[in-house]
């Protein structure tokens, strides 16, 4: 049986959607136990409870933030993660191979799984999609450095994005091809539109992406040269400060997918 974790609904619309999802799951006769997070019990605590009860399939029904919170625990216990995104533009639709929450529910009973990589920050901080590094002070770009196996790169940045796989630089959506690549992507982002785009930049059609960089590596060390950078999760929750090491845990999480 499956253990379902839902978010505390912040609106009536979300509550209504949650009810529809639960009804669809009940119709498929794959209902186990459904729990909702609340100010006292966080999603990760509920996942811990479900896993300690012996459930080997944990299904996250909610935002990308919810999925990101429960994925590391599911991975550590070697269980399977089911994903039913509730946001229309969720990055996880691409990952599981579905177009909407109805399809995400449809694939649950077959429990067809695929192993995906996880990103790791430091020794034990696991992330599923991406983390961000931002200057602590001010809104101007600050000099940052990334050290890879064979080279080092320095640049002024407003944000560094460390993504588990290929992220679309502008849309921040997953590109499924290359998803299993055993590499993290590191994006240096500079808002040149505000600080650099001058007359000549416009003539030569240099947009923000002209100043952005993308590196791929199995591991890297990241830090600020002028100031400490804050490392935050995809939902902007503070994790730690730089310097940090980032890497990849190959095929560390089993997820339910639609793939033929």
């Amino acid at each position: 049986m499956y253990y379902y974790i839902l978010e505390q609904p912040q609106s009536k619309n979300l509550e209504s959607l949650q009810n529809k999802i639960i009804t669809q799951i009940e119709d498929k006769q794959i209902m186990g136990e459904a729990v909702k997070s609340n100010p006292v019990q966080k999603p990760e605590e509920l996942a811990e409870i479900g896993l300690s009860k012996g459930y080997n399939t944990i299904v996250g029904i909610g935002t990308d933030s919810l999925i990101n919170k429960i994925a590391p625990l599911v991975s550590k216990k070697g269980a399977v993660l089911g994903i039913v995104p509730t946001e229309e533009n969720s990055s996880f639709f691409e990952v599981i191979g579905c177009r909407n929450w109805q399809e995400a529910c449809d694939i649950l009973p077959k429990r067809k799984t695929s192993c995906i990589d996880l990103g790791v920050l430091g020794k034990s901080n696991i992330f599923l999609t991406y983390i961000k590094l931002r200057p602590r002070k001010g809104t101007k770009p600050t000099l940052a450095k990334a050290i890879f196996n064979t080279y080092e790169a320095e640049a002024p940045i407003l944000e560094i994005l460390v993504a588990n796989s290929v992220l679309d630089l502008e849309k921040r959506s997953w590109k499924r091809k290359g998803f299993f690549d055993n590499q993290i992507s590191i994006h240096f982002k500079t808002d040149s539109g505000k600080i650099k785009q001058g007359f000549f930049d416009k003539i030569f059609h240099k947009d923000n992406s002209f100043y952005s960089s993308v590196f791929h590596a199995e591991q890297a060390q990241l830090g600020g040269l002028e100031q400490t950078l804050d490392v935050v999760a995809s939902d902007n929750q503070f994790i730690c400060n730089t310097p940090v090491a980032v890497g990849i845990l190959p095929k560390a999480l089993k997820i339910i997918v639609s793939y033929k």
Binding site: C98, A153, A155, K177, F188, S213, S258, Y259
Partner: protein, 127 residues
Amino acid sequence: MFEQPKEGGEVQETIVGADVNLTGDLKSDGNITVRGKINGQVITKSDVVIDQGAEIEGTVEANNVTIDGIVKGNVVAKEDLELNTSGKIFGDINAKGLIVKKGAIFVGNSNTSESKELEPEKKEKNK
């Protein structure tokens, strides 16, 4: 429903942005676009594009190489090497095919197995 993603199905592109100073050897299987400055080798099994304003001090090795920036070092292209109007090479080149546009600067020795005609469209019109 989607097709299953193939393992390693898409080789990822590395982009060195205009503000970046890179030191060391950049090696990749995927395409590399350079807009910043690199002090070291740039080696890939795929293609390299060196944009205007980019500067590389070191060897460049790739399948196809397109140069609008500056390379101070040897360039090896398994297939074509295209040196555009704003491109400059100070070093030896080794390529199967070589295209040099008017205004480009090349100082060094070249070793090519094929030479391609410049601007074939204009030649067609003259016929």
